[in-house]
Symmetry: none
Subunit: 216 residues, 4 copies
């Protein structure tokens, strides 16, 4: 692997700033976490998007949240086919090994992945349709959600509806994993669906009674 | 999806605290990010582990880092088989759509995923070997790394060597993606391999000349 | 005192969140409390244990509960010997100055202090027996309770019985304070003994008729 | 112990409300805390005063803070005389058994205990001087602090100065405990002195360089 480069200077500087402040203030806590292992209370599945920091929104301290981030915060359905399923592995580890109490799926506004799915499903993004598009194949997970919102005429409304569907489909898919279903039914685990409006700084949560997202 | 529950009170309180402070202080920046989209300079692939917050170590501001987190911060090799590859989709989006300048793979000490791989490859974790183990199948990605370190006798030294191999294997796999290889060769993108010692708060980086990780 | 350090960042952030939300919403009430002084209706004596928050269980609003927390929620007998008795001072202040109506002693399950007392009294914790063990000397208060339960053979049952005795002994000791006895006999004050099962989230209370703790 | 009474109805109702909401939402977390024990990161020593809720100010979740509350948040000096020292026992348990990373002493404005000490030391509270005054003997701990502020003429300024001294004297006394001194010197533990203005909702912290309390 001859291609690796030294870390750029701006990241070295930030790391050294962190080391001299946050780490220095809390080093005994970091050492305990290293020795005694993690015991997070919640898992959060969030988007890779650089504008959405769940660690900031929930004031995440070291050791509190097991965080998986992928494109559009999607969970695929359970498929035990021997292939590599990174999201399924993360959910399995959180629920069966760490035994988290809460699993939060958090989508957000202006999501590029969801936008790509909308374009693809409506026939406007042929470049996402082949096997050479990893983003296209990943967004296939959301096709059942598209089917429910394709009749919405207003484009902004439709995009938001599909962002909401991404959370709902992921919650539905979570329940197809036997270990999730069992943990939910036994009361060990509760599932939560959130949607973050980046510009407004607001959170709304999925209410299964109304089938809608309600402001917190 | 009737199983979703309201967000627990302690997370609501923290969100409201964030809204009234961090968000309130920066709302115009959040609004610009929402309107103009993200333009991150770097992608970071990090572990889901609750003790490793790349946002903290690099003082990540909103909009700066496109972050993918999975078990053990692994990247699989490029496989254009039409299946769902979440990590590959995230890399593709970062490199071809967002055109990031840096791609950082960051492993860490005391990694539960790497430990599971070590147990599995050395025959001590039969429960990870079947198709019903998502964690086991995911950690298959690291088997080529195990082959290089299986002769190390000291268990602690071996575990650390495999944590380092996880970064190296991921960097190698990154170069199997045509769009990554092209971006690296054209100079648009540089790759970086890091390993974080949680207890010591230190970072070391992979040096392709020595083939070792050197303290920053 | 050159050893004091700045408050760690995670506590600063939480304080700022509280200031911007809970305090901001209630600032006129906080100002009145500051100007007019406190007038709590009840005193609660509870354990220092991080898992037992009487403020949460009783939805304690600012100004409602005068709360003393020590190891195992113990009250020593009245000893007017000129030495420093922090618990006795707190009881005296609550009963004679604040003239509270209720005094609640609340023990709990899995209490580390009570467990230490059990080990010490049964000869399994010599390190708690010397004058250099503050915890050991503090738990001496519970020795009369141990004498009543030492014949219980089942270890879990015995531990629970001693946790209950901690509440009973404390209630007995409270009555050795002349000002408590007088306030109880005049009807100004009533005493209450509670035991909280942390895992079950249940409360039971001491019933002087049966001599047992009954679920609420 | 025939004097215990049933819990008053308003507390029963609040407990049942908590059980049906906070506990119900988090019961799997409570069970884990019950089974696996506490691992608090910080100890807080605060006043019994009903207007000061450190759990509220720091958004304390179950399991996070080991909290000792006594009159005026005082720590006496280390005295291994075989007598019962509740505060010393709590500090010993937090530092040597729980190995907390932070120990925060938090005083506050309009503190009745500090006011009593001021009256007593200036000769205006003879009722606090005898051995029958537990509050008086407890406040003797603060006499060294009074000596440093007795020349301040303005009564409000003097009261505030003595509230600050209560924190400083307690920090000084903490360092007389061998296990505290050792943990501070090894870097396991850091000490923090805070003072809360109830009406303003503000926190200030002791800065050893200036010897003063500075706003956070």
């Amino acid at each position: 692997m001859q291609h690796a480069k030294p870390l750029p200077g701006y990241l070295v500087q930030r790391y050294q700033g962190w080391k001299a402040t946050t780490y220095a203030e809390n080093h005994s806590w970091y050492r305990r976490l290293a020795e005694e292992g993690q015991r997070p209370r919640a898992m959060v599945i969030s988007c890779c998007d650089s504008r959405v920091h769940v660690t900031s929104i929930f004031g995440a301290d070291q050791g509190e949240f097991f965080i998986h981030r992928n494109i559009a915060a999607l969970v695929p359905p359970c498929e035990q086919d021997g292939a590599q399923h990174g999201t399924s592995a993360a959910v399995e580890y959180a629920v069966t090994v760490l035994r988290v109490s809460h699993l939060v799926v958090m989508g957000h506004s202006a999501c590029g992945g969801v936008k790509g799915c909308l374009d693809m499903c409506s026939g406007h993004a042929p470049q996402l349709e082949g096997n050479d598009s990893f983003v296209g194949r990943w967004m296939d997970i959301l096709r059942p959600g598209y089917a429910r919102i394709e009749d919405i005429a207003d484009p902004d409304e439709q995009a938001r509806a599909l962002e909401h569907q991404a959370v709902i489909v992921s919650l539905e898919n979570l329940m197809t994993f036997p270990f999730v279903e069992e943990a939910v039914k036994s009361g060990q685990l509760s599932l939560h669906g959130l949607w973050n409006d980046i510009g407004a700084g607001s959170l709304s949560q999925f209410d299964p009674k109304s089938g809608k997202f309600e402001a917190i």
